[in-house]
């Protein structure tokens, strides 16, 4: 299907030339890359801040910074990582780039709104960074902005709240765009159950973005009103209720975890069939489990607050649903494993990352059940155990899926091949470094190490020491991976249209894709992921 009449989107010359051709482009592929570059920059900033925190914790007592600096660091690390990187993350980068291609469309439903979302995103991200330098010092509330401290803190919390509000708005508009795109723009013949599974995951994600984000929007506005106008909703001295804030915050922020992880699941679901050369196992089950996660995930927020004061029945209810929401996630794991079973497995870097995703995600998932059970939660609440669980899900899950997606789609996005050997070495660093960094937190957490703590008792020293070593190894791996991609972009071999022998639509167009994606919109006649003959596909 290669066609030289249309230049690749990277060289395409539209109304605007040069840098304006990127900053004013409504091409979903270019917007995807704008998100990608922004996310890489912010990710390394926040990762470096994390490394500074780890260096501080390498030994008890003061090592390199003051306690207040440490408080500021874990706050901005959290705000950037959560609101700027993982919430938009996979959906904004791979969703923007590949959703239209995977469903056989030329662009998203609202291209201008898409670009506007990116500008909102950048505005929010810059405001978040500015909060470090404006007003009265870096915010020190943690990314959760818990009242009453977020109202009392003398630092510039309002900047951070506004940043999160704007980022939320950007997230809503992206979700809205994707829902309408999926409803209206599918290629002829692509019925719902013929849609690839990454779009399905994005569809489930987009509904959470649209339905949950406004709640945190209004909650952040209420905290701003609380700070500026002394309005009293969350202030017990004025009759308000701080626990109410926690409810409102987690009504969004728990579903937000699924905003992060669902696209990640979608990405690896694309990778397993391709590198096993075998149809995905249980297409329908994966679709239903994505929707089930999105739906049930909406009703489990209370499990963040088991120790905050809730009725017995409320705790029972939230704990029960937390166990229920683990079921569809487990179904997906079974599907991925079964997809590989009996396939001709080709252990290239994307699959390596996808398999480590399963491994890390399962550790994160099972420890999540420890936290979701009422009795064990009381023991582990607000300890390093939570930090470990959280990073296994967010970084081990979403982060490694992001790396998997980068290695999978890099040839398509940039039209160049990267070096497998360097990619594999970087994977070893990342995987070993990651586990060394976060696994000790499970142990010291159970032993009683509190989270967000600047100093600690000598008995936790070994755990913290190993963890800091892991942080250095991980950073080295991340830099090596980045170097590999940059080198590939400059000097990599030209990528063929279909380097992995994939069968979804993005592999049927040239690498990099032309400006309009398809010369002719394809007709879809079967379900995706059939690697054999057409007859088999129609069975």
């Amino acid at each position: 299907m290669g066609n030289d009449a249309q230049a690749g989107y990277l060289e395409y010359q539209g109304k605007y030339k040069g840098i304006a051709g990127w900053l004013l482009s409504t091409d979903h592929k270019r917007i995807g890359l704008l998100y990608l570059y922004a996310i890489i920059v912010f990710f390394f900033v926040a990762a470096f801040l994390g490394l500074l925190m780890r260096i501080e914790l390498i030994a008890p007592g003061k090592t390199i910074m003051e306690p207040q600096t440490y408080n500021g660091l874990f706050t901005i690390h959290g705000i950037i990582m959560i609101f700027v990187i993982v919430i938009p993350g996979l959906a904004a980068v791979f969703g923007n780039f590949f959703l239209p291609i995977l469903i056989g469309a030329r662009d998203v439903a609202f291209p201008k709104l898409n670009l506007f979302s990116w500008y909102l995103y950048i505005t929010g991200a810059v405001l978040g960074v500015m909060s470090q330098f404006m007003g009265s010092g870096p915010p020190d509330t943690g990314w959760t902005f818990y009242v009453p401290y977020s109202v009392e803190s003398a630092t510039s919390v309002i900047w951070a709240l506004t940043a999160a509000f704007i980022l939320g708005f950007s997230s809503i508009l992206t979700g809205l765009n994707f829902i309408v795109t999926i409803h209206r723009m599918r290629a002829p013949g692509m019925k719902w159950m013929r849609m690839p599974l990454f779009p399905w995951a994005l569809y489930a994600t987009a509904w959470i973005q649209v339905l949950a984000t406004p709640i945190v929007g209004i909650t952040l506005l209420m905290v701003i009103a609380e700070r500026v106008l002394n309005i009293g909703f969350f202030d017990p001295a004025l009759g308000g209720d701080p626990v109410l804030f926690q409810h409102l915050f987690w009504i969004y922020s728990h579903p937000a975890v699924y905003i992060m992880i669902l696209p990640a699941m979608g990405v690896v679901t694309e990778i397993f069939p391709t590198f096993s050369q075998k149809p995905v196992f249980g297409y329908g089950a994966i679709v239903v489990s994505s929707l089930a996660i999105a739906f049930v995930g909406y009703f489990v927020w209370g499990h963040h607050m088991f120790t905050s004061g809730m009725s017995y029945y409320a705790r029972w209810f939230f704990s029960f649903l937390t166990f229920i929401v683990a079921v569809p996630s487990a179904i997906k794991v079974f599907n991925w494993i079964s997809t590989m079973y009996g396939g001709s497995i080709d252990l290239k870097p994307p699959l390596l990352y996808a398999i480590s995703f399963i491994f890390l995600f399962m550790i994160g998932g099972f420890t999540g059940l420890v936290l979701g059970a009422l009795a064990t939660n009381v023991q582990t609440h607000d300890t390093a155990f939570v930090v470990a669980h959280f990073h296994y899900i967010i970084f081990g899950g979403m982060g490694f899926a992001f790396f998997a997606g980068m290695h999978y789609w890099y040839p398509k996005m940039f039209g160049k091949m990267y070096n497998y050997r360097v990619a594999n070495i970087a994977w070893v660093f990342n995987f070993v470094g990651f586990n060394l960094l976060y696994f000790p937190h499970f142990i010291i957490g159970i032993q009683g190490m509190p989270r967000r703590s600047y100093d600690y008792l000598p008995q936790f020293h070994t755990g913290h020491f190993i963890s800091t070593i892991g942080a250095f190894i991980l950073i080295a791996g991340l830099l090596l991976m980045l170097y590999n991609f940059i080198r590939a972009g400059r000097r990599g071999e030209k990528a063929p249209a279909n380097p992995w022998h994939g069968v979804t639509l993005e592999w049927k167009i040239p690498s990099p894709p032309p400006h309009e994606n398809f010369d002719e919109i394809p007709e879809i006649t079967s379900r995706p992921y059939f690697f054999g003959s057409k007859e088999k596909a129609n069975q």
């Binding site: 539209g14 409504t26 091409d27 469309a105 030329r106 662009d107 439903a109 609202f110 291209p111 709104l113 809503i172 809205l176 765009n177 829902i179 309408v180 409803h183 209206r184 723009m185 290629a187 002829p188 649209v210 339905l211 949950a212 984000t213 406004p214 709640i215 929007g217 209004i218 909650t219 506005l221 209420m222 009103a225 106008l229 002394n230 309005i231 009293g232 909703f233 004025l238 009759g239 308000g240 209720d241 109410l244 409102l248 400006h515 309009e516 919109i521």
Partner: protein, 204 residues
């Protein structure tokens, strides 16, 4: 046969409307957070909410409700007129809608300044000496009507843009998606008021 959407083409009307409806859902959820807080504090401080609500002027509230309800009708009329190709009627009805919205805001201004005269504004000393329930009621009153007033202003801007576009001919009897979506937005603004009005003014 196929929807040939490219990077530059116009958005078809069904797609545009679907996007708008989803956006309106998010607006409902935004206000939903405040309704939730209202419900919780109302349950906790029923007698004080009862007392504080009597301070609000139900007469001004009723007039404002009438303004908004009539404006919903006129904006719907403007859309129908556009569909029938009657530009003059469209412009007339749009102007009436904007006028009614303006009257609503003027009323709101007097209502709020009247409260300020009594020393009732968020964080004021008078308010701080009131019982907790009344303080929270007025906090909610300002937050909810304030956010709603902001939406009225946005709606007025949107409708004004429509007036310009109808005059310029870029909103026409063939392409009226912008007008239709603005009208949908305006109905939402009314809808939220229809809930705010009884919750704040009538249930005493």
């Amino acid at each position: 046969m196929t929807v040939h959407q490219t990077h530059t083409e116009h958005i078809d009307s069904e797609t545009g409307k679907l996007g708008m409806w989803i956006f309106l859902f998010t607006e409902l959820f935004l206000f939903g957070g405040l309704f939730l807080v209202y419900a919780i504090f109302r349950a906790k401080y029923s007698p004080e909410f009862h007392h504080a609500a009597e301070e609000l002027n139900a007469f001004i509230g009723t007039i404002n409700t009438v303004f908004l309800l009539v404006s919903s009708m006129t904006v719907a009329g403007a859309l129908t007129a556009m569909q029938k190709g009657d530009r003059r009627m469209t412009l007339l009805l749009l102007s009436v809608t904007i006028l009614l919205a303006g009257l609503f805001m003027v009323n709101k201004y007097f209502e709020w300044s009247h409260k300020f005269e009594y020393g009732i504004w968020p964080g004021s000393p008078v308010l701080k000496n009131m019982p907790h329930g009344e303080l929270l009621f007025f906090g909610l009153y300002y937050m909810m009507t304030g956010l709603h007033a902001l939406h009225v202003l946005v709606g007025m801007v949107l409708l004004s843009i429509n007036v310009v576009k109808v005059r310029a001919g870029s909103v026409s009897s063939e392409h009226y998606l912008m007008l239709e979506n603005s009208a949908l937005y305006w109905h939402l603004v009314d809808l939220i008021w229809i809930f705010l009005f009884p919750l704040l003014y009538l249930i005493t």
